[in-house]
């Protein structure tokens, strides 16, 4: 496979045809049932969540959901959650803890939505609360960046025991465009920014921010979504079983140490 530049991967990660959370969820899990709402304000469609099984193990699944067509993207707010999205995720994660289900999250967002309503309803508080709660949930958590993992909006469902990325996913403090406009005062230098900001799976693996890179077929995940789903499934099964062997205390200590050394 020809070596891809960071900018190539940014393009791949953002591709409309690239498989989204629900594509994987439907292929990886046997019987996903979607659940809705944060019990407080609304159901945010940019985050989907529910219960399912994988090899007869009940799990809670949460994913940031972009659309593939313009209409679906409008409905999904282009995968940019509002506070109620993060609060729905937290509600489902607390539920998972109650019923001792492992949690699997799929990360794919350009960022938390920077709108007026989001600020009025406490976007910062919603994200902060998730980080704090996820740090101590007494069940295994596996977080998978499948496309674009941008800023606190991505991190808000990405605190767990295993943090992994698809080969062509990116995970960063903000978009290369935003990075360029802040540090180079020129948003057209996004390509240059993408190379320097170390946001590819390989970069994050060498920075020891992620644990593992899940392979994609040549040309990207959209070329063979079944194969990628299978790769993810294998990873999840192997690691759920590993994590379930740990005592709660061990699990939480290791999760704490994981972020403590970053």
């Amino acid at each position: 496979m020809a070596k891809l530049t960071a900018w190539d991967r940014v393009q791949l990660a953002r591709q409309l045809e690239r498989p989204k959370s629900l594509d994987y969820i439907q292929k990886i899990f046997e019987d996903f049932m979607e659940l809705h709402g944060d019990r407080n304000f609304a159901d945010d469609k940019s985050i989907v969540g529910g219960i399912a099984t994988i090899d007869n193990i009940p799990v809670t699944v949460i994913g940031e959901q972009k659309g593939k067509k313009i209409k679906e993207n409008m409905e999904r707010n282009f995968g940019m959650p509002n506070p109620e999205g993060y609060r729905k995720a937290l509600r489902l994660m607390k539920q998972a803890e109650k019923f001792k289900r492992p949690i699997i999250t799929f990360i794919d967002t350009p960022g938390a939505y920077p709108g007026m309503g989001a600020e009025e309803r406490g976007q910062g508080e919603a994200i902060a609360k998730n980080l704090m709660e996820m740090a101590r949930l007494k069940v295994p958590i596996i977080c998978i960046v499948i496309g674009e993992g941008s800023s606190g909006g991505a991190l808000a469902i990405a605190v767990g025991d295993r943090i992994v990325m698809l080969e062509n996913a990116i995970y960063s403090i903000l978009s290369p465009e935003g990075f360029a406009s802040i540090l180079y005062k020129d948003s057209t230098k996004a390509k240059e920014a993408a190379e320097n900001m170390k946001a590819t799976a390989q970069d994050l693996k060498s920075l020891e921010v992620i644990d593992y890179i899940i392979e994609e077929p040549e040309g990207g995940a959209q070329e063979d979504v079944n194969q990628v789903a299978l790769n993810i499934r294998k990873y999840i099964l192997k690691n759920i079983k590993e994590l379930q062997k740990l005592s709660t205390e061990q699990l939480l200590n290791e999760r704490y140490e994981k972020f403590r050394k970053m």
């Binding site: 709108g115 007026m116 600020e119 902060a128 980080l131 101590r136 605190v159």
Partner: protein
């Protein structure tokens, strides 16, 4: 003719005063309040806790001045000062910029932590400093704050964090983002230990700091009129393609929307914090 001359003299007199003020501002003796436009003698401003004597505007404070205002005299002992800026991305020019800034500001990083007494109540404090890369959170800030939280746990003390931040330390990329998870995890542990955390938001508190420890206090205080939000006002305006209403994301706005407990003027901050700490002393359940 005569009147003209008088006018001219008055004008030059006025100009001279103006020039004098300008010159004094240049050498840093005077500052202009950008709220009420009053020219204030710096010494007078500092005596007034850096609050405009004319309109009450709370000027931004350095960590040094803040600590002097909050800690009982001579009780502050710094911790975690050995933690220095890191450059995980090998970002071109970053460390050099930091060195120049350290030299210029005499500040080591965007937060200073320590243990002190506040009206006799022992506490851990962490004070962010907006003069250092806009109080942005990189690994040193995250690490120092985490050490402060862990020190509070180890010594069974309350912790007070004064927040001021423009957001993430972009030059540290993903490592900067991870500081949000690290500090929030530490706060989660503090909660399990039943220890008090008071978060004080000051102008401006935004981005990753808002979306982590700043929003996680048992009690969240703010200085008047502080700008507090996740997304910055400019980003929101670009997104919604309209101007934000006056006072959007101000402390008063957040109080109204239920995200902070109390707005406290600087002159009352020390006594308010001490009172909150005292109020948490009675209810402690002893082990056994």
């Amino acid at each position: 003719m005569i009147i003209d001359k008088v006018k001219k003299v008055n004008k030059t007199e006025k100009e001279r005063t103006k020039n004098k003020i300008a010159a004094n501002m240049m050498i840093g003796k005077w500052v202009k309040c950008d709220e009420c436009k009053e020219i204030i003698y710096k010494e007078e401003l500092h005596k007034n806790l850096s609050v405009c004597p004319n309109c009450g505007k709370h000027f931004r404070l350095s960590s040094r001045r803040r600590i002097n205002q909050i800690a009982d005299e001579g009780t502050f002992t710094e911790i975690a000062s050995e933690i220095q800026t890191k450059d995980p991305l090998n970002f071109d020019g970053y460390l050099k910029k930091v060195e120049i800034l350290k030299e210029k500001t005499k500040i080591e990083e965007a937060v200073k932590c320590g243990i002190c007494n506040i009206e006799g109540e022992k506490a851990v404090i962490a004070v962010m400093d907006g003069n250092f890369l806009m109080g942005s959170m990189g690994s040193a800030v995250g690490e120092r704050i985490t050490i402060a939280i862990e020190t509070a746990i180890e010594k069974r003390l309350p912790i007070v964090i004064f927040c001021v931040s423009g957001g993430a330390r972009m030059q540290e990329g993903i490592v900067s983002l991870m500081q949000m998870a690290k500090t929030s995890s530490a706060i989660a542990k503090l909660n399990e230990e039943g220890l008090l955390y008071i978060s004080v938001l000051t102008d401006p508190t935004t981005g990753g700091v808002t979306a982590s420890f700043a929003s996680l206090g048992d009690i969240i205080l703010s200085e008047p009129k502080a700008l507090i939000g996740f997304a910055g006002p400019r980003v929101i305006e670009q997104t919604i393609k309209q101007k934000l209403p006056q006072g959007f994301q101000s402390a008063e706005f957040l109080l109204e929307h239920g995200f902070i407990d109390k707005i406290v003027e600087r002159k009352d901050m020390k006594s308010t914090i001490a009172k909150i700490i005292r109020l948490h002393k009675g209810g402690k359940v002893e082990d056994g």
